[in-house]
């Protein structure tokens, strides 16, 4: 048998190899099964402990003001909530559609929901499906509202706190929010228009698009 195989010319050997590989492929079926995932529990635990996957709302606000666009901001809430207000440049993907979406494994993805829970669940799903760079917005939409849109300064604040509030005020106004000064239960707004209460700013910026940053030329052939 061995001599027979040795005597065969190279094309024959290649043909047999191809046939065998094809046959094994037939047995394997589908090489990339999208629904079953392998979880590296240790890696996940480590990432959680190190807290490196959490992004503060102020950091995000900074990125948005500087128009840093190397990430994709994902809003995990329902369509209706998304329609009422969403963080500018975000794209709406409910958690059950995450794996079927256009998100690519080599993108930086920043997730937020109303609070931390949904975002953490989505983070787990994406990390185990081998998405490489997944981050959570600390506190979610609630934190965004409290710290960015409607920051509050106590009337009896120290000089440092007042100075820090200045920055928060600027950021809030940038996003159309209403900063407030609180003294003993009553809040006075510092915003330009006196009528503005804690109303959510209107959505003027178009919602973001999934699919990577500015791709100048399409890959063709």
């Amino acid at each position: 048998m061995k001599e027979l195989i040795m005597k065969l010319s190279t094309p024959w050997k290649l043909a047999i190899l191809a046939g065998l590989l094809g046959f094994f492929a037939l047995i394997i079926g589908n090489p990339a099964n999208k629904n079953v995932i392998d979880v590296n529990a240790k890696e996940m635990a480590l990432a959680t402990v190190k807290n490196q996957d959490r992004i503060d709302v102020m950091t995000l606000a900074d990125w948005l003001i500087k128009e840093n666009a190397d990430y994709t901001l994902v809003d995990l809430r329902m369509e209706k909530e998304y329609g009422e207000y969403n963080i500018p440049t975000s794209v709406n993907i409910p958690i059950e559609s995450l794996l079927n979406s256009d998100l690519m494994r080599n993108q930086k993805i920043l997730l937020y929901g109303n609070d931390d829970v949904v975002a953490a669940q989505a983070w787990f799903i994406l990390k185990s499906a081998n998405y490489k760079a997944v981050y959570l917005l600390n506190g979610g939409m609630n934190a965004w509202k409290n710290e960015i849109l409607f920051p509050k300064l106590d009337a009896s604040a120290t000089a440092e706190q007042t100075a820090a509030f200045e920055k928060a005020k600027q950021v809030s106004l940038h996003f159309g929010g209403t900063p407030q000064i609180v003294s003993g239960g009553t809040a006075t707004t510092v915003a330009a228009s006196p009528t503005a209460t804690q109303a959510l700013p209107k959505l003027t910026a178009p919602a973001g698009k999934v699919g990577g940053g500015a791709k100048k030329k399409k890959e063709g052939c």
Partner: protein, 197 residues
């Protein structure tokens, strides 16, 4: 322009694959390699492109870029309004020739030349069958190029892009295009046999 027409021994150059050349200065061109080994090498090059770059090979894209740039130099507004040219021009912040396919095709030219030099197959000549004149052959070559340019854009790729790259991917459109290529070529072969046989 003096053409050195390679005297052909009818039939045998296809199988025996050794060209004899007159004029003793030329070295004999070496025979072509086993097609299966060539195919294996080509497949490995294609696979390398997939694994390293995440894209396959392609030839027509480079020429499209050149055409688009040429048109945009002559008539910039026309080019920027045409949805086809637009795609090859990018957003004007970078030179459109800084394109993967352009560099790849430059490599093809160099690679072909190197291989030709190593096997003494570089020859300033016209490849044609015995029953057609050089002039007609060149006319046909131009017409053929025109059809392929047009078809390559319509099919979103040429043989390298659709048949090889798309074929390896088992893409539906690519295989359909490949079948169409072979069907059309076989169908038309009888009518243009004057050129080759």
């Amino acid at each position: 322009m003096k053409m050195i027409l390679l005297p052909t021994l009818s039939g045998s150059e296809f199988k025996g694959e050794i060209f004899m050349s007159h004029g003793g200065k030329n070295l004999e061109p070496k025979p072509y390699s086993n097609p299966y080994l060539v195919g294996l090498s080509l497949g490995l090059v294609l696979l390398a492109a997939f694994l390293i770059m995440g894209r396959g090979l392609g030839a027509s894209g480079a020429i499209s870029t050149a055409v688009a740039v040429g048109v945009s130099k002559v008539a910039p507004e026309h080019a920027s309004q045409n949805n086809f040219y637009k795609e090859y021009l990018g957003d004007q912040t970078e030179n459109p020739f800084k394109d993967w396919l352009v560099f790849q095709i430059l490599g093809v030219i160099v690679g072909g030349f190197i291989s030709g030099m190593l096997t003494h197959r570089v020859k300033f000549t016209v490849e044609k069958g015995p029953n057609i004149s050089v002039r007609n052959r060149l006319i046909f070559a131009f017409i053929g190029g025109g059809f392929i340019g047009f078809g390559a854009k319509m099919a979103r790729g040429c043989m390298s892009g659709q048949a090889l790259t798309g074929g390896a991917f088992l893409n539906l459109g690519s295989w359909a295009a490949m079948m169409a290529i072979f069907a059309a070529a076989y169908g038309l072969a009888y009518f243009v046999r004057r050129q080759w046989l």
